[in-house]
């Protein structure tokens, strides 16, 4: 008697029903990480002239991670208890579980907040918006002294964790479409970096002394879009039988049109042919990358949840 018309399998796994707050959080976390990593790399390896542009990158990370924090808290079903993530009230000790990516992620969001806050102040000091002597001293200690290299590298590593752990979070679950491919963190990182760089291009003013920096940023963004394309292809291959969750139907449409065409191929074309849209090329390609970055997260978070109880 082999036929069981009641497919219990799909009922057995329950979806966490992560909704729009988490999609936006994953998107903004990618941007915060992308802008900070790019700024630190540019400060460490770029030329002196790049610094003018780099400081504008530092202006983005902190406000964006603040939005992330708000989204994270409001998404909780008991938001007033959000501190339990960092503090265990039963024993009055810090709450840290190395084998729970969400627990580590909670700490890294806080730590990244501190690094990006100092970067933010540094940018304001450099732009002469802050002139308080001790703040000037403090920020230049962290960003310009002999110790600054170590500071920037640790901050960058925090950014890298922030940019990838959302993928690890989904990987450590029971939803087949989230666990099948270990490339999810790489995909999220590449997309976060390219979206971050796109945003940095948008906030870089048109000054001839920034042309070299802008050129480098465009080039870096192009590399990230290519990395994202490769990561996406490998992700879809490694999804195996679960690829249909994101490649067909409504989510499939969003993936092929919203992510591949609008978010990756068109911007890549514009980066290869920078004169195609005249002076609007950078603006258009950056906006397309940002839209694609959001849609990618929407597809990857929502698609695999569809069809399971709870969603």
């Amino acid at each position: 008697m082999p036929v069981n018309p009641y497919d219990y399998f799909t009922h057995q796994v329950t979806s966490p029903a992560w909704h729009w707050e988490i999609v936006w959080y994953f998107f903004f976390a990618g941007i915060a990480a992308g802008t900070y990593i790019t700024s630190t790399i540019a400060q460490l390896a770029g030329s002196k002239n790049d610094l003018q542009g780099v400081i504008r990158g530092y202006l983005i990370g902190f406000p964006v991670i603040l939005i992330c924090g708000i989204l994270l808290v409001t998404d909780l079903d008991s938001p007033t208890r959000f501190l339990h993530m960092l503090w265990y009230p039963r024993e009055n000790i810090p709450m840290f579980k190395a084998h729970s990516p969400m627990s580590v992620g909670g700490w890294v969001v806080g730590l990244f907040g501190a690094f990006s806050f100092i970067g933010f102040l540094y940018a304001l000091v450099k732009m002469e918006k802050i002139k308080t002597p001790w703040l000037v001293k403090l920020t230049s200690f962290f960003h310009e002294s002999a110790f600054s290299k170590l500071f920037l590298i640790i901050g960058m590593l925090c950014g890298f964790y922030l940019g990838t752990y959302t993928g690890v979070l989904a990987n450590t679950s029971q939803l087949p479409g989230w666990t099948a491919s270990p490339l999810l963190p790489v995909l999220f990182l590449a997309s976060g970096m390219s979206a971050g760089m796109a945003l940095m291009l948008l906030v870089t003013p048109k000054k001839s002394e920034l042309n070299e920096y802008k050129h480098k940023l465009e080039r870096a963004d192009k590399y990230m879009v290519i990395l994202e394309l490769v990561a996406l292809a490998l992700f879809l291959i490694t999804l195996g039988q679960w690829a249909g969750k994101v490649t067909t139907g409504f989510y499939g449409f969003l993936l092929w049109v919203g992510v591949v065409l609008i978010g990756l191929l068109l911007p890549l074309l514009l980066k290869w042919k920078p004169n195609l849209l005249g002076h609007r090329t950078t603006l258009v390609s950056s906006l397309l990358i940002l839209v694609g970055g959001y849609v990618l997260r929407y597809v990857v978070i929502m698609g695999p949840q569809s069809g399971y109880f709870g969603f």
Partner: protein, 269 residues
């Protein structure tokens, strides 16, 4: 290790689907009805799944022959399995999921923040968040009753003794004898689901008369952490790739800097 390892043996071969356990659980734990009473359209089972308000659920599995001339019903009184290696507990970022002195898995309602991560960690789809409490909910194995020496409400209500409560090792002996008996009676597929090969052992384990997948039970459930090392490894590879590419784009090429600037001005407007 807990003081006692208490659990349940659910013998599906004697369950006749009366749902007395489901009702007893609702009554004792004061779990509300769901908003609407629905017919699933695919089964006589009208509950469908475990949830924040259904901590116990009697699954109806209707089996039909190819030509649908013959039918057979299987019943499985389902709940949290109180796993030895509990995925929900592994992932919970707040330590809200704890192991009690009875070796059962319990959600501390005062600590849970409602992040929903445990839902993704359970391979059996047991947990759901309550809209009323804003916290994760599932079977507690009637922790309050255990503390005063009583058995869980479902086990007490079961009219066929299909749900037996007690020390896991003694229950396992009963189950093994039962398995032999069922096989002798012609149930060739009779098997215990929840020995140490399944997540280190389930404190609430089952006697099945068909393959686990027929009941919607995963054949080889895994801890969600199984993927973590590989996932972190790829993360590091991604970091190196992204880092090197950004570095290539930004490094100061003193020799070629001038060319860069020239190119730049011709390209970027």
């Amino acid at each position: 290790m807990a003081e006692q390892q208490m659990g349940m043996f659910v013998d599906t071969s004697t369950c006749h689907g009366c749902k007395a356990c489901q009702v007893a659980c609702k009554e004792w734990n004061e779990l509300p009805m769901e908003d609407e009473i629905k017919f699933l359209g695919t089964s006589y089972d009208n509950t469908g799944h475990l949830s924040d308000t259904n901590w116990r659920h009697v699954k109806f599995v209707e089996l039909f022959s190819e030509d649908r001339s013959d039918a057979r019903w299987l019943f499985l009184s389902d709940s949290c399995k109180h796993c030895q290696h509990a995925g929900c507990m592994e992932v919970c970022p707040t330590n809200a999921i704890i192991r009690t002195e009875f070796d059962t898995v319990y959600i501390d309602q005062d600590t849970c923040i409602g992040c929903r991560y445990c839902i993704t960690g359970c391979p059996f789809g047991v947990i759901e968040i309550s809209h009323i409490s804003g916290t994760a909910q599932k079977c507690t194995l009637c922790y309050d009753r255990l503390q005063v020496g009583q058995q869980p409400a479902c086990a007490q209500a079961c009219p066929t003794d299909c749900i037996q409560f007690g020390e896991v090792s003694s229950l396992m002996k009963i189950a093994e004898e039962r398995e032999v008996l069922l096989k002798n009676m012609g149930h060739s597929k009779a098997q215990i689901y929840g020995k140490s090969d399944i997540l280190g052992g389930l404190n609430v384990f089952y006697m099945l008369t068909e393959e686990p997948k027929v009941y919607g039970l995963p054949e080889n459930p895994q801890l969600p952490q199984k993927n973590m090392a590989k996932s972190y490894m790829f993360s590091v590879a991604g970091m190196v790739a992204a880092g090197v590419l950004a570095l290539l784009a930004f490094r100061s090429k003193r020799m070629s800097q001038k060319t860069d600037i020239d190119q730049d001005q011709s390209h970027v407007v």
